[in-house]
């Protein structure tokens, strides 16, 4: 078993943990964290295959895509946080369920 295989399998597990978290957790912030974990899984699979395709250096295209992706994911998470905090301020809700 090689290094990239360990991490590519880990990436699948992380993605599933994230997608499960999106469904199962209730609190807004936990849902946002879950989407970030999903993203982490996707990025990990990209970079693990970049390592597999390495010659003298690892494949730079997935690396560049992942750097772009991390920044975009953080920008969207910041927007989600702004929405969550605004919802809490206006309604007092901390989750999508009806109970308060």
């Amino acid at each position: 078993m090689e290094t990239y295989q360990i991490y590519s399998l880990t990436s699948a597990v992380l993605f599933v943990i994230g997608i499960g978290g999106v469904f199962i957790t209730r609190h807004f912030i936990k849902k946002i964290i879950a989407t970030m974990i999903m993203g982490g899984g996707v990025f990990l699979s990209f970079v693990s295959f970049a390592e597999r395709d390495a010659l003298t250096f690892a494949d730079p295209v997935p690396h560049a895509l992942v750097i772009t992706g991390i920044v975009v994911a953080v920008a969207s998470a910041a927007f989600a946080l702004a929405l969550a905090r605004r919802i809490y301020q206006q309604t007092g809700d901390i989750s999508f369920s009806n109970d308060k």
Binding site: T3, Y4, Q5, I6, Y7, S8, L9, S11, A12, V16, I17, I19, G20, G21, F23, T25, I29, K30, I33, A34, M36, I37, G40, F43, L44, S48, F49, E51, R52, D53, A54, L55, F57, A58, D59, P60, V61, H63, A64, V66, I67, T68, I70, V71, V72, A75, S76, A77, A78, F79, L81, A82, L83, R85, R86, Y88, Q89, I94, D99, K100
Partner: protein
């Protein structure tokens, strides 16, 4: 030996991800997510992706962690214990009627895990684009292949990404319901915070500039530098000097858009000269990339500190509402 390290790191990342979702308290979740980001950063280093590791540690763990911590001011202290008890009771009473959907959800997740594992196991050997990038590297004007891809071969992506950050800032602006940044209040009297700001501002600036310049030959570049410079903005904001509110409106807008704008003007100039969008002449590619990276880092730093300032402002208004009622 390396297998053991990789295996342990993989287990650590999975454990931290699980725990950050399962932890009963929100504060724990946020700190475990911090740790998860840093564990991932170690994994990037093991995969020889140092550029990604710096970005992950700086933006995904650092900057996003700060935003989450700031959000805790809203959420964490004001959820009374009673509320949680009510929620638990609610979820207990619902357990029976939700049994079938839950079973389906877990079975679906298990199935999905198997599919995902099989998918990543069977990704065909394609060879990737390493060889193509390697051949073109001398023409790109930089020696670090990742910087070459980011700012030369796939400059289009990077340009659009700067647009995404700007749109993210506008969206946060809109969601916050603000007309303007808060004008500065009193400078913080906390002696420790003042010292930290005095000490770290030059260090962060220098380190950011170093990362920006070294991006030409080694790991580093505009995004990493931008986040470090953004950290200066966040520190100053916390210390009571929100520079983005202090500067005139046009200057703030200029700083936010200069990266995107310069990129765009440059791209169209190349098109006017008969080339493709972002097709740099190889002779000037190195210096052009450095200028673009500097301006991009300035824009990213301004955008990140503005996002923090706006999110911070949402919390402060909530505090005021709380204190008046």
């Amino acid at each position: 030996m390396s297998l053991i390290i990789d295996g342990l790191l993989a287990i650590l990342a999975i454990y931290l991800a699980l725990q950050s979702l399962l932890a009963p308290r929100l504060t724990q979740s946020v700190f475990l997510f911090f740790a998860f980001g840093l564990a991932l950063a170690l994994a990037w280093i093991r995969l020889a992706a140092v550029d990604v590791a710096i970005t992950e540690a700086a933006i995904a763990a650092g900057f996003l962690g700060v935003l989450f911590l700031d959000a805790l001011r809203d959420f964490a202290p004001r959820i009374p214990a009673k509320n949680e008890a009510v929620q638990k009771q609610y979820s207990k009473s619902q357990t029976k009627s939700l049994f079938l959907p839950r079973l389906t959800l877990w079975a679906g997740l298990g199935l999905f895990l198997l599919i995902a594992l099989e998918a990543v196991w069977k990704i065909p050997e394609g060879g990737g684009l390493t060889a193509a990038a390697g051949t073109l590297l001398p023409e790109s004007g930089v020696e670090n292949p990742v910087t070459a891809v980011l700012l030369n071969f796939r400059a289009y992506d990077t340009w659009l990404e700067m647009g995404v950050i700007l749109i993210g800032l506008l969206a946060v602006f809109a969601a916050g319901g603000k007309m303007a940044y808060r004008k500065p209040g009193v400078a913080s009297q906390d002696p420790l915070l003042r010292q930290v700001i005095l000490f770290f501002t030059p260090v962060l600036f220098l380190f950011g500039a170093f990362l920006l310049y070294i991006g030409k030959t080694g790991p580093g570049g505009a995004f990493q530098a931008g986040v470090l410079w953004g950290a200066i903005g966040i520190l100053l904001h916390l210390g009571g000097w929100p520079f983005i509110a202090l500067m005139p409106r046009w200057l703030g807008q200029l700083l936010l858009t200069v990266g995107l704008g310069f990129f765009l003007v440059l791209g169209f100039l190349f098109m006017a000269a008969g080339g493709a969008l972002f097709e740099y002449p190889p002779a000037y590619a190195g210096i052009l990339i450095l200028i673009i990276e500097t301006l991009a880092a300035i824009s990213i730093a301004a955008a990140l500190s503005a996002i923090f300032a706006l999110l911070n402002q949402i919390g402060e208004e909530a505090d005021e509402i709380e204190s008046t009622t």
